[in-house]
């Protein structure tokens, strides 16, 4: 029987319940992707300073070799996932930036062995005390690890001790609240020991006393797997699995903190200001691999999904693999598809160029047809705002999306700021619920970009 404490679910204000659609891939074990022929390593795969290339056109590179770096504090190096030759260093399609500099590497041979996941090298009794916090931070930095949940913030910056802001609580994000995506779920199920090893290393580096692993209650198998592994393992006192409500955007770090700690990160600030560090489960797995085995972050698990995909699944692929090749590997689309989205349908970015490469933050590729999107939504048929207030009720940050969006629409950025536009986390809940089909999130995003440009133009 469930104890009372198990039945109490953490949650946050607002949010929405989109259809999960996770059944397409949740039972698909992580498999190898296609034999890579060519990869494109973007020099900007993270928040912070863009890497400088450290190789030239024509250079031979080996798997795991660092090929780009930047000495700035907030940055992360990039590595080659394969043995091969630098074919080109030029502007390439980029999921977030549109275009960005990328290093194109041609594989040395067509039969090169694929890099296999290393989860079997980790046991429950992993001893993290062999490594000092400095060693862990160095290894994480050198491996180029960034937050793999989506934002791509360099992990070293997050876990490094800062005397001004002591860290108390480490929260591990196993929510995976976006519909369709299952890569983190599979990582928790299959690489359980590796994830827990990474969590223990992160705890040692940050010096946090308390570790809370937040998992949504639609993944009871993952909750059980993590709990069981923690019980078997040594030195897991103070690490707790917290069952939280299945609701989007539960995996947003501000919402996750609200759900598990009942605290709110002040607007415009980041979790370290209240002594909290949030790390994604896949990031933890990467930390374990980097510290214990010295492997840089060159591969990740990507969910390729959507009702139109012939063979959806979860794949272990090199960073830099093109999205088009990945879709072809899954049998391509079986019916007319309207959108290819990098990420999930709520926050993901629609792309038109299928040569766009996978980056460290690409958790999923979702193919959507008109049926899933809805005809009116696809055609962007907007009707007038009836001021119903559903966007306000859905907003996890308690903003007034309709007022902000309409201020931006009519060009009044000052008014948009009076409604706290910059606090928006761009989760998309307001657009999702809007009965008038207004792209509220789209307008707010535009407003933020316009405001940033305005600030740049006017010095001081």
């Amino acid at each position: 029987m469930e104890s009372l404490i198990d039945r109490v679910k953490g949650t946050f204000r607002g949010g929405v319940h989109p259809p999960q659609s996770k059944s397409l891939t949740e039972d698909c074990a992580i498999q190898q992707g296609a034999q890579p022929k060519e990869v494109t390593i973007m020099l900007s795969q993270h928040t912070g300073a863009i890497c400088e290339p450290q190789v030239k056109k024509g250079d031979a590179v080996t798997a795991g070799q660092k090929i780009g770096d930047n000495s700035a504090f907030v940055s992360a190096p990039v590595h080659s996932p394969i043995n091969g030759k630098v074919k080109d260093i030029s502007l390439q399609p980029h999921a977030v930036l549109g275009r960005g500099m990328g290093i194109v590497i041609e594989a040395a041979s067509e039969t090169e062995p694929l890099k296999a996941p290393c989860a079997d090298k980790f046991k429950e009794d992993f001893d993290e005390t062999k490594y000092s916090p400095q060693q862990i931070c160095e290894a994480v930095r050198n491996a180029g690890i960034v937050g793999m949940g989506g934002a791509g913030f360099p992990t070293r910056v997050k876990i490094e001790p800062n005397p001004k802001q002591p860290k108390e609580t480490l929260i591990i994000n196993g929510c995976e609240c976006e519909p369709y995506i299952t890569c983190d779920f599979r990582v928790m199920m299959e690489w359980t020991s590796q994830v827990i090893a990474g969590i223990k290393l992160a705890r040692r580096a940050t010096g946090c006393k308390r570790v809370l692993i937040g998992i949504e209650d639609n993944k009871p198998e993952a909750i059980d797997a993590m709990k069981e592994a923690l019980q078997k393992g040594s030195n897991s006192e103070g690490i707790e699995v917290v069952r939280i409500e299945t609701k989007y955007p539960q995996g947003g770090e501000r919402q996750l903190i609200e759900s598990v700690l009942s605290r709110n990160v002040p607007s415009g600030q980041i979790p370290p200001m209240i002594g909290v560090v949030v790390l994604n489960v896949a990031t933890c797995a990467a930390i374990a691999e980097a510290v214990a085995l010295g492997n840089p972050l060159t591969h990740r698990v990507v969910t390729v999904t959507g009702q139109a995909i012939a063979r959806p699944g979860n794949f272990y692929v090199p960073v830099g693999e093109s999205i088009g090749r990945l879709i072809d590997f899954c049998g391509g689309a079986t019916e007319k598809s309207a959108k290819v989205v990098i990420g999930g349908p709520m926050m993901g970015l629609a792309i038109s160029d299928l040569s766009t490469p996978v980056t460290k933050t690409t958790g999923s590729i979702t193919i959507l047809t008109e049926k899933q999107i809805g005809r009116a939504k696809l055609a962007r048929q907007e009707t007038p705002c009836i001021r119903c207030g559903r966007c306000i009720d859905a907003c996890p940050e308690r903003l007034n999306p309709t007022r902000i969006a309409h201020s931006v629409k009519y060009g009044d950025l000052d008014l948009a700021q009076k409604y706290f536009m910059t606090v928006c986390i761009e989760c998309g809940c307001c657009s999702y619920v809007c009965p008038a089909n207004i792209e509220l999130t789209g307008f707010i995003k535009t407003g933020k970009v316009l405001l940033a440009r305005q600030k740049k133009k006017i010095p001081g």
Binding site: S267, I351, A376, K377, E397, L399, Y419, A436
Partner: protein, 340 residues
């Protein structure tokens, strides 16, 4: 299969809820009141309702044509004009001539809504604008009531301005209540009618007499989350508390709080008129203020003003205050004001 890919901002899926669906829910919520209206006022109810709905829809179409809209029929499909027609009809006396109902509807949609730019842009509730217009133009018609068919098959007409002592055939309960306030006695006549008020077996406007039908419709809207509980609760509670206090102070001249709630369009106002999202505040706090304001103004008009009902003018007054209320009840983000 992956050609002509569409690029739009995220999110790429939606809840599939449409404005039309929201409006359709309001119409469904009004069905119990419509059934009650036909039951109590027979053909009168059918004629006036049909006149109002048809006139409202046609007016919207003509306005769209005049504005040069490419698809003048498109905005009809959101059903908002139908709702305006229905609510206006339900707030009119049964015996009003069909042509007067048409004039009211044309004014409601044309001046109350379309001149502001159509759905979502109007300041005042269009149906209440139409009713106010009729009140000013045809004062006599608007205060002439019928005895419901369930009491007298002939449905004789009675005017509020005359004096009545027979509880079975009086004008409206609130008309009687007004007399009680003036004369200082007679409130028990209305109080004894509470059962009739609850079922709708009294004189009054077409769709507002049956409390039970309006409550059923209101609960439907609440369950469907078409409206929030805040405005109806604030309106009803404020009215109830003021009425309670007054009937406690002077029981002879003031009818009971329950009678106030069940009469004079208070329930249709609380559930269907004051909750119009376009003309009520967006913010939670604002909605409480709005509801309390509507309730308090209604009671002020009923107790000291010149009209027996008061719902219409209080809603219109609070509509005018809505932009101001929204401005003064700014929503603060959950993480507090950012330091900028």
């Amino acid at each position: 299969m992956l050609s002509e890919l569409v690029i739009t901002p995220s999110p790429h899926i939606s809840s599939r809820l449409t404005t039309r669906r929201v409006m359709l829910d309001v119409i469904i919520g009004l069905i119990p009141a419509a059934i009650a209206a036909v039951y109590f006022f027979r053909l009168y109810a059918v004629i006036v309702t049909a006149a109002c709905v048809i006139a409202s829809v046609v007016t919207e179409w003509i306005c769209n044509r005049i504005r040069g809209r490419e698809k003048p029929f498109e905005s009809i499909c959101d059903f908002s004009a139908v709702i305006t027609g229905l609510i206006l009809a339900f707030s009119l006396p049964p015996a009003i001539p069909w042509w007067a109902a048409v004039i009211g509807s044309v004014f409601a949609v044309g001046v109350g809504k379309m001149v502001f730019g159509g759905l979502g842009a109007n300041i005042f509730n269009p149906a209440m604008i139409g009713r106010a217009f009729l009140m000013l133009c045809f004062g006599m018609m608007m205060t002439t009531w019928n005895v419901p068919a369930t009491m007298d098959q002939n449905m004789p007409q009675i005017k509020t301005t005359e004096n009545y002592t027979d509880a079975r055939t009086q004008a409206t309960p609130l008309g009687l209540a007004k007399q009680a306030i003036k004369s200082g006695k007679g409130s028990e006549i209305v109080n004894n009618q509470l059962k009739d008020l609850f079922y709708g077996n009294v004189g009054g406007s077409i769709g507002e007499t049956s409390a039970i039908a309006l409550i059923i419709g209101g609960i439907y809207l609440l369950v469907r989350k078409t409206i929030t509980y805040r405005i109806p609760l604030a309106v009803i509670l404020t009215t109830f508390l003021i009425a309670m206090f007054m009937s406690w102070v002077r029981p002879q001249s003031n009818i009971s709080a329950w009678a106030h709630i069940c009469s004079g369009g208070l329930l249709i106002g609380a559930f269907f008129i004051a909750t119009d999202p376009v003309t009520s505040p967006l913010t939670t706090k604002g909605q409480w203020i709005f509801g309390i304001g509507v309730g308090a103004l209604t009671m002020l008009i009923r107790l000291v003003g010149g009209y027996p009902e008061g719902m219409m003018f209080s809603v219109l007054m609070m509509n005018a205050l809505t932009p101001l209320i929204d401005r003064f009840t700014l929503i603060i983000p959950i993480g507090g004001r950012p330091n900028v």
